[in-house]
Amino acid sequence: MVASAEDPMLPQPYRVAAVSRELADTVTLELTPASGLRPAFACGQFNMLYVFGVGEIAVSVSGESAQQNSFFHTVRALGAVSTALANLTPGDTVGLRGPFGKGWPLEAAADADVLIIAGGLGLAPLRPVVYEALADRNRYGRLALLVGSRHPTDMLYRDELEHWREHLDVDVDVTVDHADAGWHGNVGVVPGLIERAPVDPVRTIAMVCGPEIMMRFTVDALREAGVADERIYLSMERNMKCAVGLCGHCQFGPKFICRDGPVLRLDTVADILAVREI
């Protein structure tokens, strides 16, 4: 779905309205359109962000869809473009194309238990789902959020996680891969949290985003818990370039991640998920 300009290849100018530092190398950008009109987006979709003179990358939308005037993008400084994005300051201008792709299955999740499983920066594309589910809480059954990160100091949106856990009708469980004895939370991998998640596997819709290897282990744990492949959704990541299914850079077997994904139902990709050449 392309909801912005008539020409999906033409970046539109957006102004950096605010920059929030999340972690030492990670920021959330609030971007407002120069035109004044921000296109609608679905949770799980992504935009192509263009730093003039540097390059363009795909970044998932990490903010609320109800927030009409801005896109929020959480960016970790890893390569040239993401580092340039992370170094932007309020008032700077970037190019933006999008939103693109298919998002999370909020329709299918209606009346179901919702199990959201995020690893590392994978929480960013899932945060809009949490916002949506909390804003329309009665539409869903039990709501559980499982989050894994490397270390307590690397935990994304930590204040929000604590707020959700303490004040809102969502079960939040977090775990870290490494910690010292001063950490009183869980230590271990995020799939290990699944067996204790307070959801009914038969009526659960699971939404998973994180490093691909983490998602593979998570799929194993979900299956073991009794969640059917048709009820598991993954957000896949490949090298998105054109974002409209033309260039083929993001090909994943018979699918283009930019057009057919990034959110894909497990049963449609299960047979190629562990194929290393893909």
């Binding site: 190398d25 890893l78 690893g119 590392g120 920066l121 894994g148 990160s149 490397r150 690397d154 775990t175 891969d177 490494h178 910690a179 010292d180 004895a181 001063g182 950490w183 009183h184 939370g185 869980n186 230590v187 271990g188 991998v189 799939p191 290990g192 204790r196 994180g210 490093p211 290897i213 983490m214 282990f217």
Partner: protein, 152 residues
Amino acid sequence: MRNLEEILSKQPFLAGLDGEHRRLVLGCARNRRFDAGAYLLREGEPADEFYLIRQGRVALEIAPPDKAPIVIATLGEGDIVGASWLIPPYHWRLDARAVEPTLVIGLDAECLRGKCEEDHDLGYEMMKRFLPIFVKRLHATRLQLLDVYGRS
């Protein structure tokens, strides 16, 4: 004792164990409670009792010389604490510390080893229950070692 039998019967770890074998395990079991910060196991000490967590949370730790302990994993309700009781020389290889007040079923390792030696069917049932736990923890450790959330 009936109370302990009821508690044991609800543990997923012992699900499917027949009545006679369950009674043998029960004969090696007792209720225990650990305050937050108390150690269930200490590295190097004899593996003479292992634990099934009823309620609470336990951190498995390694203490490098001159450094603060590193938490390897945390365990919760229904989890087993301690595997070295099965393997000679029957000494713990890790510390296990209660993160919060923790209720456990303590299982006398020497008692259970003896019963497993006398009754190999019971020994096989124990192995069938422990091996998946070991494999799951090995997989989890591998995933932790991969450092999947690190900079790439």
